[in-house]
Symmetry: none
Subunit: 144 residues, 4 copies
């Protein structure tokens, strides 16, 4: 199952609302469980370069069914996944991308946010994703 268009719109709204609360300017991407773009928004005065980062964070979270920052813990020099960012036409492995998981534990999409500190990016992504599901995958199985 994929996140629906209506859900994707709610995710964007929820992320924008949270961004305004925090006083930050964000780019927000919603992808379906196949990693394909469903909805996107760049708020006024958000960095132009954050658009691609938001999309790639969401792709990273979707492709590996975990928050982008979790991959980042494993991709440092000397760590097992060093250089994984070179795969899949570019991953972004710092925080701000989270999976969207339904009640049965199925991955239904991902949200990626970029525009402020990685802590705020993550907070806004979670605010968006939890509008339509949870961000934690069960240990196994997960299905796209």
């Amino acid at each position: 199952m994929h996140v629906s268009f209506e859900e994707a719109q709610h995710i964007i709204e929820s992320a924008v609302t949270k961004s305004k609360e925090l006083g930050v300017k964000m780019c927000i991407a919603v992808l379906d469980s196949g990693g394909n773009i469903k909805a996107f928004a760049r708020m006024d005065d958000a960095w132009v370069g954050s658009s691609d980062i938001a999309i790639k964070k969401a792709k990273t979270a979707c492709y590996f069914a975990m928050p982008s920052g979790e991959i980042g813990k494993l991709s440092l020099p000397g760590s097992p996944l060093y250089g994984i960012e070179h795969s899949n036409d570019g991953l972004i492995t710092f925080p701000g991308g989270v999976p969207i998981v339904d009640k049965e534990g199925n991955l239904i999409g991902a949200v990626g946010v970029s525009g402020d500190t990685v802590e705020n990016d993550h907070i806004v992504a979670v605010a968006g994703a939890t509008k339509c599901g949870q961000c934690d995958m069960p240990k196994h199985p997960w299905r796209t």
Copy 2:
């Protein structure tokens, strides 16, 4: 000046409303005048492959300040611009992309739509763009 986030949202809404009237499933992209993505929506059951086409149609309309289909008239085999699609990391030169022009004749962005016949794609793009401007560039000048 660029299309604002609020305007981009109105463009998406207007294009979605028109799509529903026509009973079609569309991907809709809004770019600023620099060709950078501002907002995007993929309606449920729209082709996944239409996302990139919508973005590239909008890019084509933005980069040349005219509807994408106008370029297409010139890019057929034997025509002056044959093969222009190979430039700019890929252009799409059939209808569905239109520029957004403000009252002073400045290009402020572009809308690209893909998902149905090129006639319907164009109709939906115009319905979106005219929410915030017109689609016709003055002869000259135009400024990005």
Copy 3:
């Protein structure tokens, strides 16, 4: 031998002067004989999308040591080089790119112009290139 920086600047100036005479807005690229960018100019109100086309026309003229439009005659459907535009990360095979050749018949670079009709693009490219050489290669040999 390569076109020098001073020569490249003269080529740009000469092409801009010719563009103003014609009342057109151009993108102008100068590449060395290795196909690497040496100088570039986008005049005000020139299409943003013409930048890449100008560079690719020059690349096409440089890589094959002939005007870009000559390749275009051979790349139409059913012709021997159909689809050559897919090579070399994208060629542009309509007029506007010309080689720069020194007195000994050596290729020293190429000029690419985009922004108006292909006829005007070619005229401006020749106006630039002939500032520092000729546009015709001897039958053979040619050396980069």
Copy 4:
């Protein structure tokens, strides 16, 4: 508003003059505020590989409205933005790229320089950019 062609030419001239003072061979790129190329120069004997670096430094400064080296401080292993270079078709995050900001605090473009030490690259970029504006963004707002 974007940097104009005349301004871009002055930026190139100013950067070339400073390069000659320092006795260095540089590649210099000027982009508009949308990240699209406006003018470019590669001085004689500058590294061919520096052309793309100059363009990517300018893109980095433009997309994030700050000097490229500022991003580099945050993208080291273990730092919050580790791996950001994989976004936007490649960023360059060492010094040599600076934004161009007008008196009202609007981003109007960026300059990227590559060819010598990163310190000299930065000095030459600033010499270029300050010909037409300042390099410091106000805290907020900034608009492209």
